[in-house]
Amino acid sequence: MSILKTPPATPLQPRRRAIVVGASSGIGAALTQKLAQEGYLVAALARRSDLLNNLCADINAAAGETRALPYEHDVTALEKIPALLQRILTDLGGLDLFIYNSGIQRQVKLDEFDFAKDREMLETNTLGAMAWLNPVAAMFHHLGTGQIVGISSVAGDRGRVGAPAYNTSKAALSTYLEALRNRLTRRGVNVITIKPGFVKTDILSAAGAKKTFWLITPDQAAEGIWQAIKNRKQTVYVPGQWALLMLIIRHIPSFIFRKLNF
């Protein structure tokens, strides 16, 4: 059978295993790199296989052994997910950490109402997440161990004029993760919601964001997320100052929020 591509863990050389969905660029690529550096064996999933293969090759060359395995995968191919998860579980020889990072944002103008774009974002950001999180949660539920990380966004905290569907997709993801946390904490599983602010990624350029602040690199975001994983946090804003800002924004009364243009 020998599907296993790396030697089994030993007591003196333990090995943790992770899946990163959406690993080809941005936060996902930085996270894959960070986890490999921390000694994880990572299954890296993404649509863009050329980027993915390069990323894994670089990581493995730097480590001098196999630390990252590439899997070409489109999260909107929902029906393929359970079988792929099983294959990865066998390939890695177990699973300690699952990260859902896939996310897209389509630019919509203030007077644009386009269901096709909305649907695209919901399919990748929310439905894909749920299709992965269900079987992963089932596995961890039965094992009584594991960590689940969902990369949501500060954008999910309010519905804004500029991004109705993106806000919705992330709000749904945050709520879904919260429910999973309530289900799984009692089984010994740690569920973390990550809410990044502005991160220098493709999403940011796709969103056409002009005025940004507290801008961080994907590596900085990955470091913040790694700290949350290490300390088994629950909901974490990255960088941390967003927690305070979003606390204020969440409490801006509707009669004011309706007049704002961000």
Partner: protein
């Protein structure tokens, strides 16, 4: 949307005896031989491998299969036939040594070979070809197997004995469960005339005296085992205490009926008459640091200077590991590993002198050392030789992994250079190169050829197998 074909509800985190590893696997627990074939078919259909598991008493990854199927055979635990006249017993592989001796002792019999814990299963005992404190006299458990039946991954049912399918007999016993599944095992038990043993305990002041004493006293005793103070250095390096034991002859025990009752053999339920034994490992844990262990070992050595002659029930003499339930947990969260080396009697002293001195010099002393006397056997993946073994327990800590690993690799070199061998039920870090060197290329190739024959689709694999025989 398709539903997953693999049942998540069967996913289980399984561990080992040293609490040093955990691996998730789909756990299947057949209760009858017919179900074994179904599990093989299921594995093949889903592209998964299978590891066989009994009581999970190996210190390493022998009964773990990361991400695959584990077939736990503890449910197949019936004694199928017992003849108190001849002492021949036939049992399923999930029968433990505990169930075995408790079944036969009242009739005046005892298993010819037992491990240091009675919770091991017969299937596991054969797969690893266990030895006891009488290895130099009675050999391994395989030498007392008259016959076994097995289901092969091909679905074939076979019967093996030393004269029938002899190649499979001598390789499935010692074959780590990688060639097929034992379905029934027929063993010859040993006649007893008492439930007690005559035990002699005495101290040995250093390694040279330790090994000499084993050599001299072993032939005239039925059992010999040494405790070695692995924290002693300098002149006292290798000091310890030997326990030798002799069977009691017919007529020596005035009440054999009584001493052979199971109740008579039961280990005491409390320590010092006060603490329930299940709590003792909590009291031990604070001592499991270098100075604490030095103190305990030194105190034990000083106590052993008083020579002892006494009679002891079989169970109390043999099953030292069961005295303190969950003693392994005293080693803490990261667990322990056992490093056991087997060395020819000519080279053992020098090699172990270096190993013991190095471990103390590097600040990673073993916390417990145990010595035994051995003889070679005919089984394919044999660990035994004409010499001694030294089993050393090491505590794993969050910070010592790489240093400990590096030290054990160094020890492997010392042992290999001295013509030594290793045991697949114990060491957790043995590399394919090391295995190849002590087994020899011819043995490894013979084993792989037999595996291709009984398991052409490589359904049987364990983490141990992939570690030691992987490409």
């Amino acid at each position: 949307m398709t539903t997953p074909s693999l049942p998540y509800e069967k996913l289980t985190n399984l561990g080992n005896f040293g609490h040093s590893l955990q691996a998730a696997a789909y756990l299947y627990q057949p209760s009858a031989p017919e179900q074994i074939g179904e599990i093989f078919q299921f594995a093949r259909k889903n592209g998964l491998s299978i590891t066989l598991r009994g009581a999970g008493r190996s210190y390493n990854d022998a009964a773990l299969n990361s991400g695959g199927i584990v077939m736990d055979l503890q449910g197949m635990n019936r004694i199928l036939a017992w003849n108190p006249e001849t002492g021949v017993i036939t049992a399923e592989p999930g029968v433990t040594l505990q169930k075995l001796w408790q079944h036969i002792l009242p009739d005046g019999w005892w298993p010819p070979v037992v491990s240091g814990t009675m919770y091991t299963t017969l299937g596991g005992c054969l797969g690893m070809n266990i030895h006891g404190k009488n290895n130099y006299k009675m050999g391994t458990i395989g030498e007392h197997v008259l016959q076994f039946t097995a289901t092969l991954p091909t679905g074939a049912e076979i019967t093996c004995s030393p004269t029938k399918n002899g190649d499979l007999f001598y390789s499935m016993i010692s074959g780590m469960g990688m060639l097929g599944v034992f379905t029934s095992i027929t063993l010859q038990m040993k006649k007893m005339h008492s439930g007690l043993l005559n035990v002699h305990a005495f101290a040995v002041p250093n390694l040279s005296a330790h090994l000499q004493a084993i050599l001299q006293t072993a032939p005239e005793n039925d059992y010999t085992v040494g405790w070695l103070d692995s924290t002693a250095t300098g002149k006292g390096l290798g000091r310890g205490q030997l326990h030798t034991a002799r069977y009691i002859h017919e007529g020596e025990d005035p009440e054999p009926r009584k001493t052979m009752q199971v109740q008579y053999q039961t280990l005491p339920a409390t320590m010092f008459g006060v603490f329930p034994k299940s709590s003792i490992h909590y009291f031990m844990a604070p001592f499991m640091i270098n100075p604490g262990v030095w103190l305990v070992n030194t105190a034990k050595y000083v106590a052993s200077l008083r020579e002892g002659h006494y009679r002891q029930p079989h169970a109390a003499f043999h099953f030292l590991l069961d005295y303190v339930p969950n003693w392994e947990k005293a080693y803490g969260k990261q667990g322990l590993i056992q490093y056991q080396s087997f060395l020819p009697k000519e080279t053992a002293e020098d090699a172990w002198r270096e190993i013991l001195a190095t471990s103390n010099r590097r600040g990673m002393p073993s916390y417990l050392g145990v010595t035994k006397r051995h003889r070679p056997d005919k089984f394919l993946l044999s660990h035994a030789l004409d010499g001694f073994s030294l089993a050393l327990d090491f505590k794993i800590s969050a910070g010592n992994r790489s240093a400990l690993r590096e030290m054990l690799q160094h020890f492997d070199e010392i042992v290999l250079a001295a013509g030594g061998r290793f045991y697949f039920a114990k060491n957790s870090e043995t590399s394919p190169q090391t295995a190849l060197r002590f087994l020899g290329a011819e043995t490894v190739e013979r084993f792989k050829a037999l595996k291709r024959r009984t398991d052409p689709h490589n359904l049987l694999e364990s983490d141990l197998f992939r570690r030691v025989f992987g490409e």
